[in-house]
């Protein structure tokens, strides 16, 4: 069964450094998402992406964050200058389509980001 994959599984970085989290969504999916989960807290929406542009973003997704689909398969989340509070599990998700509003989002296994 196709699945969303994410790399790396764990990333340790120093405060102020740039990180890029990578995701490969399911191949025939058109909608892509990033969520994050700070340890012990709930999963929070960051951004959605469709047709090569951001369709919605949350308050968390400030100027330090950016997303890109550099080729036909990868979907990346970049944090330009990491802060301690960016430490979290980051989940990528994809969905086949949204015109029929009953398709589930498939989540990747997550990347645990630790900022020291």
């Amino acid at each position: 069964e196709p699945e969303v994959t994410q790399t790396p599984s764990h990333q340790v970085t120093q405060m102020g450094q740039e990180v890029i989290l990578r995701c490969v969504p399911i191949s025939n999916h058109l909608y892509f998402y990033w969520y994050r989960q700070i340890l012990g807290q709930k999963v929070e929406f960051l951004v959605s992406f469709y047709n090569n542009e951001i369709s919605e973003k949350s308050e968390i997704f400030d100027d330090q964050f950016s997303v890109e689909r550099p080729d036909g398969s990868n979907f990346t989340l970049k944090i330009r200058s990491t802060k301690l509070e960016d430490s979290a599990m980051y989940f990528c998700a994809s969905k086949r389509r949204a015109l029929v509003r009953d398709y589930e989002q498939y989540f990747g296994p997550g990347t645990r980001l630790t900022v020291t």
């Binding site: 989940f91 989540f107 997550g110």
Partner: protein
Amino acid sequence: SQQGEEDPQALSIQEGENATMNCSYKTSINNLQWYRQNSGRGLVHLILIRSNEREKHSGRLRVTLDTSKKSSSLLITASRAADTASYFCATDNIDRDDKIIFGKGTRLHILP
């Protein structure tokens, strides 16, 4: 309460018993989903129920949806040790078809 809020926050039951978790939400929705998360791991999609459905089954899982009360329940029958995990409900918003909003989850612990 927040969109997609589960209760109880934590639940411990004996193996073999049934576990029921509830979720309440605030806005009108297209669908509601339940996810499972093992400690420190990824999110596993369990079941999606549409706003025009009242009940859905998948194996040992039964989900109900009451849109008039804006609530859903997840029932796991004949629980097993492997069911130990956190369970989240997630809702979309009828006016938007992008993000889904997760609740804080119920931590389920199955006692041997």
